[in-house]
């Protein structure tokens, strides 16, 4: 309990100290520095040489131990300096589904000094090290686990250059724009187009008869609506228009979706949306707080997935910030 409380307070403090931003310049406020294990061993070696020098009353051995301790002190400055002044800019992140790797594009600006072996990465994810003189582009792949606005938590920037005695690090957080869709679940078959006892489903029984005319075929049109006979005749590809094209539409709603919890249901809905899209079946989405009218196409899919991603978002706790 105490540990959790300490961690919570630490994170809160960190949020105040390094607030999320789209570009962050590392300076004394952001950079922490402590000796590494190698650094502590080095200090032990220095102490041993000092004792050796004392026992042999040997001036040069004293000198060596002082030189080594000076190197240690200098390396604090150098390690700090290797991070100080770097500006990290988050450029963009693509929307993906939860459970996938999100490529996050970053720009590192060195602000005039050459940087060595600067390591970036989110905990439990890929870590990359860069040496750069001016600017450095970076694409990091981060696992997204939770739907909603992407919250990868704080990214660690660290460096032990030049001598490995000290580790300078910082935890930076970007205010990100990527939206994470729910993880798709393809294990459930699509609900039938006539609806499962739903009122609107019953009403649309004769919808296909309300033929209204033709228009020029668009790639997003369903193949079932193409006027194949007319095509055979005129060699022109047209799509039949109906007054109410709800006849073959699939209605997806939260109540329909099988699964125990909300997240599972959302996953199933996501899977269905994708399935409908890939099989060119028009679909509409109905969520308690949002309705998306029946349609098909990339834009429609995006709208649906966004609705699913943000459904009752913010009411529950979002993806935990992972800092250690």
């Amino acid at each position: 309990m105490l540990k959790l409380e300490i961690k919570r307070r630490y994170l809160k403090w960190l949020d105040r100290r390094i607030p999320p931003a789209s570009h962050i310049t590392l300076d004394q406020k952001q950079i922490f520095i402590l000796p590494t294990k190698g650094g502590y061993i080095w200090l032990a070696v220095v102490a041993l040489i000092f004792i050796l020098a004392a026992n042999y009353a040997n001036s040069l051995a004293f000198g060596l131990s002082f030189f080594m301790i000076s190197l240690f002190m200098l390396s604090i400055l150098h390690t700090w300096r290797n991070l100080a002044g770097i500006t990290l800019v988050s450029k963009s992140a693509e929307s993906r589904h939860a459970g996938e790797l999100i490529p996050i594009k970053l720009l590192l600006q060195s602000s005039g000094r050459s940087r060595h072996a600067v390591k970036l990465g989110w905990p439990d994810n890929e870590q990359v090290a860069y040496s750069f003189i001016k600017n450095q582009d970076s694409t990091l792949l981060v696992q997204a686990n939770v739907r909603g606005w992407f919250q990868p938590g704080r990214m660690r920037v660290e460096s032990v250059y030049p001598l490995g005695f000290c580790r300078a690090w910082s935890w930076v957080q970007f205010d990100s724009q990527a939206l994470i869709y729910p993880k798709p679940d393809f294990s459930h078959p699509l609900p039938s187009s006539r609806g499962a006892g739903d009122e609107t489903g019953v009403q649309t029984q004769s919808g296909q008869d309300d033929f209204a005319g033709f228009r020029r075929y668009k790639t997003s049109d369903l193949s079932g609506h193409v006027d194949w006979k007319g095509y055979a005749r005129t060699n022109e590809l047209n799509t039949k228009l109906f007054e109410e094209p709800i006849g073959s539409q699939i209605k997806l709603s939260l109540q329909l979706a099988p699964g125990g919890g909300l997240e599972e249901k959302l996953s199933v809905l996501t899977g269905w949306c994708l399935q409908c899209e890939s099989t060119n079946k028009p679909y509409c989405l109905s969520l308690p707080d949002k309705e998306v009218a029946a349609n098909i196409g990339r834009q429609h899919l995006k709208e649906c997935l966004e609705a699913l991603a943000l459904f009752s978002y913010g009411k529950k706790e979002s993806g935990g910030t992972h800092v250690s």
Partner: protein
């Protein structure tokens, strides 16, 4: 994460180089097998780097460890000594390098390297050694830095440059700590470097021993005079007094005294001056001796000693001995007194000791001695004079490589057959003849001469200055010095060994590269003298800056009152200040901007005052357009400025820069 990272090629190369380099200064102390192991390991790693080798299997590495431990176990008795520890460290470095794959392994290797450098310093602290080890440290720093830079493709030299820069930055702090951090005394006693194998005087002189010393140009001591300097033929540096002769070897008598039932106080004194043995007078020469470690307790004094110096014993043979063997460089000053030539008296037991010769052998010499003694009216001084003329008038020859004389009658053979000898032969035969006639006499071993350095007012004595001469006791006058070698070869005493042997023998045959050999060459000699001067200064002011010297120096500097407080304050303040200056120069060094960049940054400042800040990645022109949209009043000059700026950025010329300045002033 540290463990998993691999070691770059450049770093491996640096570490191989460092291994060979740090082994060099300790190669004499370490068993040959371990040196071979080091070379093998370096070669093997290079083979792996070239893709021709493979990693050694575990059993083989284990076997190598056993070999290394075995060789250490067999080579050192007692096992725990400084040399054995160094050997273990060296073997550890070599073996760890052989199996080094990860960054952590490499770090272990680097740390062992620093340790080896620290132990090398215990064996020698000369200027050359210090410079060489500094070079080793640079290699180690370069290797260490190479471990932590991510790209392996960066040039090898950049690591070395970095190491140099880092070392330079560390220098002020190191000096500050060296001067100010209080030195601890020894915490426990430690095995000292083994100096028994050193060349140097011994307290048993077999003719031929000193001839061996004459082949070495190793430094023995330096004496710095604060006033007058004795003439070359007066520079008799006394070290040992050999008064026991067994027919072959001259020895120093020490322990036999207690056996004879005499109190030890008759022989050794720790008092500054032992009254009753003889009378002292003020010495004309005041000097300070910095002697190199010998592993033996004898101290060098100019002529007979009359008083003790710090931590030393005074012997009745008028020589000094340190209270423990001199295992590290020792500095002592002799500014007291010397014995009066006219001394008081000699007790019978001492007379007996100084007239002892073996009962048998050398009959011809004994008869000859008695004959001369009677011819000179039983006057020891006259007899000595006669003997010197005997050496001078006969065909005696001073040589570094005399023939071997047989054990029982070696003196006879030398005096009447061979007549070729080195100083030890002459001194030994002279004392033997005097003792045969009943005159108390003894052989003195030490050094004669030395090179005078005018700028430091110091005399530098090397091993080839080793010499043996004689003293005889004359009632009412005390011990008088006679140097029979001078009778045979006056040049030896006036101008040193090289002049004495002339062109007939090679001087310093074992050291063809010794700078001392080439003192005739002007430039080389200047280099040598300058170097020796630097070395002396280094030894005196840096190496000899020990606990007491530090305290004296700092008390002079900071004042006696609240000394330790002052020391602490100065130390804290000094270290903080140095670190502050270093961090300011390192962290906030202003970037050097071109004139064009300067103008643009001025432009940015002006815009910032109006509330316009370029977005990240926003180009100059789009920034200018944005400003123009927001603020019509400056739209025109800003656009003009930016267009000129972009033009200038491609072809930087003075005209455009002047134009830019004019434009910038417009808003």
């Amino acid at each position: 994460m540290l463990a998993s990272a691999l070691v770059s090629r450049a770093s491996t190369l640096w570490l191989i180089a460092a291994l060979l380099l740090v082994l060099l200064p300790v190669w004499k102390q370490v068993p040959a097998i371990i040196i071979l192991l080091g070379c093998f390991s370096a070669g093997w790693r290079i083979a792996i780097l070239l893709g021709r080798g493979h990693w050694l299997p575990l059993w083989l590495r284990f076997g190598l460890i056993l070999i290394a431990l075995g060789s250490v176990g067999l080579s050192f008795k007692p096992l725990i000594s400084l040399e054995s520890s160094v050997s273990i460290l060296a073997a550890g470095y070599a073996l760890k390098l052989l199996e080094m794959r990860s960054q952590r392994d490499a770090l272990v290797v680097v740390y062992i390297g620093y340790f080896l450098v620290a132990t090398a310093v215990l064996f020698s602290q000369t200027l050359l050694q210090a410079g060489y080890l500094m070079f080793c440290l640079l290699i180690l720093i370069a290797a260490q830095q190479g471990l932590f830079r991510s790209s392996g493709s960066t040039p090898v030299t950049s690591s070395f440059k970095f190491a140099g820069a880092l070392a330079l930055q560390a220098v002020p702090l190191t000096i500050l700590l060296f001067v100010l951090v209080p030195r601890m005394g020894p915490l426990w006693s430690v095995p000292l470097p083994d100096s028994s194998a050193r060349t140097g005087l011994t307290d048993a002189m077999t003719p031929g021993d000193i001839a061996r010393l004459s082949r070495s140009d190793e430094l023995v001591f330096r004496a710095r005079f604060s006033g007058d300097v004795p003439l070359a033929n007066q520079r008799y540096w006394r070290a040992v007094v050999l008064d026991q002769f067994d027919g072959k070897t001259w020895k120093q008598s020490d322990q036999s005294f207690s056996e004879a039932g005499l109190p030890r106080t008759n022989w050794i004194s720790q008092q500054p001056e032992k009254s009753g043995w003889w009378v002292n007078r003020e010495s004309r020469y005041q000097y300070e001796v910095m002697m190199e470690p010998t592993g033996r307790p004898w101290l060098y004094t100019l002529g007979a000693a009359g008083a003790v110096t710090e931590n030393s014993f005074f012997f009745r043979t008028m020589r000094l001995e340190a209270d423990q063997p001199v295992d590290s460089r020792l500095l002592y000053s002799m500014d007291g007194v010397v014995p009066q030539p006219r001394s008081i008296s000699m007790p019978d037991w001492l007379t007996e000791l100084n007239t002892q010769i073996p009962d048998v052998g050398n009959d011809r010499s004994r008869q000859y001695a008695l004959k001369v003694f009677n011819q000179s009216g039983q006057d020891p001084v006259k007899m000595a004079g006669q003997l010197l003329s005997f050496f001078r008038q006969n065909n005696f020859y001073y040589t570094l490589s005399p023939p071997l004389y047989d054990d029982i009658s070696s003196v006879d053979q030398f005096l009447f057959e061979g007549q070729k000898g080195f100083c030890a032969h002459y001194a030994g035969a002279f004392v033997y003849l005097m003792r045969s006639a009943g005159v108390p006499a003894r052989v003195i071993g030490g050094y004669q001469g030395g090179e005078f350095k005018e700028d430091g007012n110091l005399i530098q004595v090397r091993q080839f200055d080793a010499h043996a001469w004689a003293e005889i006791w004359v009632a009412g006058q005390g011990w008088l010095r006679f140097d029979p070698t001078a009778a045979v070869s006056p040049q030896r005493v006036e101008s040193g060994l090289e002049a004495a042997i002339g062109g007939s023998e090679t001087f310093l045959p074992d050291s063809p590269l010794s700078l001392y050999r080439y003192r005739e060459l002007g430039i080389l000699n200047k280099v040598r003298l300058a170097f020796e001067k630097a070395e002396y200064q280094w030894q005196r002011s840096v190496v000899n800056f020990k606990k007491d010297e530090q305290e004296t120096f700092l008390r002079d500097l900071l004042g006696d009152k609240d000394f330790y407080w002052r020391q602490a304050v100065v130390l804290t303040f000094g270290v903080s200040l140095t670190l502050l200056i270093l961090s300011l120069t390192l962290l906030y060094r202003r970037q050097r901007l071109s004139p064009l960049q300067k103008i643009y940054s001025r432009f940015l400042k002006k815009m910032a005052r109006r509330g316009f800040v370029p977005e990240v990645g926003e180009a100059e022109l789009s920034f200018a357009r944005r400003i123009s949209k927001w603020d019509d009043s400056i739209a025109e000059p800003v656009m003009a400025f930016c267009q000129t700026y972009i033009k200038a950025a491609y072809k930087e010329s003075d005209i455009e820069i002047a134009e830019l300045k004019r434009l910038l002033a417009g808003f």
